[in-house]
């Protein structure tokens, strides 16, 4: 079985800091991979490299066999890559549902020529986007706050909106950066269920998380990262049990 997302020999350093040291990694459709590592290990940087937010020094990333090389972020997203952000990055001037409605991959309202000269197509896309957003809000339990502004909802709900917005893309590969940080209670269960459902629909998922319980419950497999290197790959139990990795994780 070939991987959905293939990362090959990815290298990046900022000045003296190495954040990616020839990383090789495969994300497989339908499976959730947990990315574990201490602060500053390069987890978020790896996501940034995959998304084209940061340019690699060497190496390449492929989605369904197509190389991302030289492509800007928005084109990678249109090919089926979606992500959430460690620091949320929602649109505060928009309501929850409007945050979501920007997300479908094929949605031509960002082309002025289409907006001016193809109103019927825009109306159709707009209706599709709204239906899709309503459906995702329903599935993630966000329907009651669809018309709230994002500053007015709880932090956990904001995290969930971030996940819901990424789902609009109907992506082949989804990267989640600490979806559980600061989240508790009912929202915790909702996010967990959402991620499981997405994986079950055949999406390749990678989750960065410090919450070990969450990783253990959710992930099919784990990867341990330290100083830009992938040190180990295996079941989450194995990684947690490894005394060497635990020492690296908590520092000396």
């Amino acid at each position: 079985m070939s991987a959905t997302l293939e990362i090959r020999g990815l290298c990046k350093s900022f000045g003296g800091i190495v954040v990616a040291d020839s990383i090789d990694l495969d994300l497989v459709a339908g499976r959730v991979l947990g990315l574990i590592g201490p602060n500053g290990a390069g987890k978020t940087s790896l996501f940034n490299l995959v998304c084209g937010v940061v340019k690699p020094d060497a190496g390449l990333v492929m989605l369904d066999g197509q190389s991302f090389e030289g492509l800007p972020t928005y084109q990678r997203a249109r090919m089926g890559l979606a992500r959430t952000w460690q620091n949320l990055r929602l649109f505060p001037s928009l309501t929850v549902i409007d945050n979501l409605m920007l997300g479908p991959r094929a949605y031509s309202a960002d082309r002025l020529v289409d907006v001016l000269f193809r109103p019927a197509q825009i109306r159709a896309h707009e209706a599709e986007a709204r239906d899709r957003a309503l459906d995702i809000l329903e599935r993630t339990g966000l329907s009651p706050i669809a018309r709230s502004r994002v500053q007015d909802i709880s932090f956990g709900q904001q995290k969930l909106v971030g996940v819901a917005r990424a789902l609009m893309n109907d992506a082949r590969c989804l990267l989640l950066d600490e979806p559980m940080a600061g989240v508790e209670g009912q929202t915790y269960a909702l996010i967990q269920k959402a991620v499981r459902d997405i994986a079950a629909s055949g999406v390749a998922i990678c989750v960065v998380e410090h919450n070990v319980a969450f990783i253990r419950d959710l992930c099919d497999e784990g990867v341990f990262m330290f100083a830009g290197k992938v040190l180990a790959r295996g079941s989450v139990e194995q990684l947690i049990a490894d005394p060497h990795l635990t020492e690296l994780y908590f520092g000396t």
Binding site: P72, A82, L94, I145, D152
Partner: protein
């Protein structure tokens, strides 16, 4: 009466300029103050086409608009590919450079100005017809921008202003949105330029410099960015104020500096006392009200 017509025409033209500038700087968040140069391009292109090749004026005005639109893309595409901030420098350079060039280009009148531009409508239908035309186009412009910014494209621009990186990650091309908005805003300014040229029938490069830039910026800031009526009110107030001062019959040696002081004072006053302008934009984008669930505030829903 001609005096009143002239003021109405200027108000109409500046409503078009200020509204289209608000689309660029307010709604799209593009920092550029070179708007008047596209007004100038529209004016000169239309004037030259009708004067030299006898093109019918409505067509030449349209060509002026297209000319301004293309010229703006010429500036915006390379600048925005570098970065959003680069547009400010590139567009001011373009503005001042083109004005200098026009001064040394005698075919279009040089520094002395372009005279004898063909008039339009006035001879056959009177000045009031021209006034109606300009004011009608001002209304159309304001309504068009309102329609655009409250529809799906307005949602796009709002999200892009909030967080461009997150916006790109959703598969949206921010650069082309910026280029497109810059172009359409400049194209509208170009049409206004053509309307100016065929009424006043005289153009001079220095009219379209930084003084004009600051006037249009003041209109938008004082009126209120990202509001439908803000730029309209700003344009009216700032057009009328100098006219009112002239009624006091002050000697020109006082009048000139006084107007300058008044503009500066107004900007300073608004910057400190009411930075959002006369009309404040809502900090939540809602767009056209969707039928059925309008007015439903989420606040109660999540408590």
């Amino acid at each position: 009466m001609d005096y009143v017509y002239t003021i109405l025409i200027l108000i109409g033209l500046f409503v078009i300029l200020a509204s289209s500038f608000d689309l660029v700087i307010g709604h799209c968040g593009l920092i550029s103050i070179a708007h008047p140069i596209f007004y100038a391009i529209g004016a000169y292109v239309s004037a030259m086409l009708s004067k030299q090749s006898g093109m019918p004026v409505p067509l030449s005005i349209l060509c002026g608009g297209v000319g301004a639109l293309l010229a703006s893309a010429l500036v915006a595409v390379p600048a925005l590919r570098v970065s959003g901030d680069y547009l400010l420098i590139a567009s001011i350079g373009f503005q001042l450079g083109l004005i200098e060039l026009a001064k040394h280009f005698h075919e279009i009148g040089g520094a002395g100005g372009l005279t004898n531009i063909p008039s339009f409508l006035i001879k056959d239908f009177g000045r009031e017809t021209y006034v109606v035309l300009v004011l009608a186009l001002a209304v159309v412009t304001v309504l068009f921008i309102r329609w655009l910014t409250q529809g799906p494209y307005g949602r796009m621009m709002t999200a892009m202003r909030d967080d461009e990186l997150a916006f790109s990650m959703l598969g949206r091309n921010a650069i082309w949105i910026k280029v497109a908005v810059f172009a359409i805003g400049s194209g509208i300014a170009g049409i206004a330029g053509g309307l100016y040229a065929h009424y006043f029938r005289f153009l001079e490069p220095d009219q379209f410099g930084l003084l004009q830039s600051s006037a249009v910026l003041t209109m938008v800031v004082v009126g209120g960015m990202r509001t439908t009526m803000g730029p309209v009110i700003g344009a009216i107030v700032l057009q009328l104020m100098p006219q009112i001062i002239t009624f006091f019959n002050l000697p020109p040696s006082i009048l000139g500096p006084l107007q300058g002081l008044l503009f500066t004072g107004l900007v300073l006053f608004f910057m400190f006392v009411r930075p959002q302008g006369l009309l404040a934009a809502a900090d939540l984008w809602v767009g056209h009200k969707p039928q059925g669930d309008a007015g439903h505030s989420g606040k109660e829903a999540c408590s």
